[in-house]
Symmetry: C2
Subunit: 298 residues, 2 copies
DNA sequence: CAAAAGCGATGCAAAAAATGCACCGGACGA
DNA sequence: TCGTCCGGTGCATTTTTTGCATCGCTTTTG
């Protein structure tokens, strides 16, 4: 879309931090890029970059402008998607930012199911911690977010919420494996591996541990739930995950048990979008599908 | 704003109904305009005009696109307004579509009051019947609408509502002038002048008349409340208006009396904007001022 | 029923805009 | 203090846009 070319250049400059670097990235000369920006600032009626000795940075006016352009670009994609829908062909692209738990089972299954009915629709799936997921929505780089325990919730419009009780993940034969439900203090008595502080599971556990005045003492911390799941196969340690990210198979030699909600309250897995935004057809329909599938977890 | 040039051309074509006429209107050759549109349609991925034997007309895709562009343009103005606000100067432009009743007293007073504090802000005031006012909001050609008894209310976000009882307007010495409050049947027994069916006052009176099974028999119909007000000075006829449009002065020789709400319910004067839209700073502040002033009428 | 008028589309040359290149002056870091 | 990286600018070149003339088609008009 040619009329957004200047904006793409501006975004490039914001990313690169200097006009010359951006020009280099985007196969244009610095002078041409520089003048494009000067021309734009002139007709816009205000500078949008601070000129620093080592480059440029958006000023407040520029921040407003970039937000506007991002919204405009995303709305144009929505229009194109609706137009494609007019001619009968359901085409389009859906971008989802999600927590790790959704990656192995839930999302692949949902996307495959959707695509059997609408093979013209493509997807991008990005793993994001809960904060980054919300940021992706706000910058229009994702249409949908599916995250456990989001943080800010400003500009996050909840489409669906399902409670998820944190489960422990231990190998068969672990002392805790013969209980129906485990207590938090039992977990803390065993070696435990935890996600980093960016994740909702960790936040819930921290809260609970503080209330129980027993500090968390992880023997390992990771930003990969996959790592933690594999780790507990090698040592009598305890890992944590929410049920939507688990699908226990006997041959894995792992046991899954819920933590008592007396100790750790259930967290919320939220499906959401940027507040007030009209999603492209494909994304909106896919979100409906997700919401329906999530109903099963309530 | 140059990147919206193509859109301005498209709007021109929509208005003119043909590329050649539009080209003529906008000081460009038909061929250049034609090719701009073709290029745009190509990169947009779909035709936006139906080619008819006598010109062109938007197809559904084009309708979607035009709506998108109008929203973009208006949002860009909002950004510019906020940017101007950043630098301390409250500048900007406010466009209001309003019913006739607001023209003589209420709006001039409000605008003047606002401008004493913000002389950098300019205004456009357009008289519109209630349907056109709502259309103006939807096409982003007005920021605010102040109308009596709007019709559709889709896409109309109510910022403030005040009840207004319809009043009769008669000359001093008229038989009805010695009552505190008049009944509808009394009005119908006298010659009466009515606004056309586009106006809320007429709609309320029609409803009431139907309920009372006494038909309205206007001796004159007009789309100008000003005309009707002047007319009753010449004959013992009855005219109607809402109080916000009235400011009786003894020297005019006119009397104003409310119609009993047993006969005609009070209508609503609504201040509204396009649903979901973020108004430019100046418009938003002015709307706050209007809302406050309208409080006085509750 | 034929001529005229109006429409969108297109080939081609002219005009306008954007770009690349070379270079300036200033700030910063080694 | 010298070298480097920055944004800015004058000028020639390339690319894009525009205007003009004209085609083929349909509707209107006489």
């Amino acid at each position: 879309m040619k009329h957004l070319q200047t904006f793409r250049y501006i975004e490039g400059v914001v990313r690169a931090g200097s006009i010359r670097k951006a020009a280099d990235d985007m196969n244009i000369t610095a002078s041409a890029l520089n003048r494009r920006i000067q021309r734009f600032e002139e007709e816009f009626g205000s500078e949008i970059f601070e000129r620093l000795p080592r480059g440029v940075r958006l000023n407040p006016a520029g921040e407003l402008l970039v937000q506007h352009f991002r919204a405009q670009e995303s709305d144009l994609r929505r229009v194109q998607s609706q137009v494609a829908d007019l001619s009968g062909e359901r085409r389009g692209h859906v971008s989802v930012a999600c927590s790790q738990a959704l990656i192995p089972y839930f999302l692949p299954r949902q996307i495959a199911a959707y695509r059997t009915h609408h093979p013209g629709v493509s997807f991008s799936v990005t793993v994001r911690d809960r904060e980054a997921a919300e940021r992706d929505l706000a910058t229009f780089s994702s249409d949908l977010a599916l995250v456990f325990e989001p943080v800010h919730l400003v500009d996050f419009e909840v489409l669906m919420a399902v409670p998820q009780i944190i489960h422990v993940l231990i190998r068969e034969g672990h002392p805790l494996a013969n209980r129906e439900e485990v207590r938090l203090r039992d977990c803390l008595d065993h070696p435990h591996v935890l996600p980093t502080r960016h994740y909702g599971v960790r936040a819930l556990l921290e809260d609970a541990a503080t209330r129980g005045s027993r500090p968390l003492r992880p023997i390992a911390e990771s930003d990969s739930f996959d790592f933690m799941r594999h780790y507990v196969a090698h040592e009598d340690a305890v890992a944590f995950q929410i049920p939507i990210g688990l699908q226990p198979r006997p041959e894995d030699g792992l046991a899954v048990r819920p933590i008592s909600t007396r100790d750790v309250p259930a967290g919320s897995l939220l499906l959401g979008q940027m507040r007030g935004r009209t999603l492209p057809v494909a994304s909106a329909r896919f979100a409906q599908g997700l919401a329906k599938a999530l109903e099963a977890f309530r």
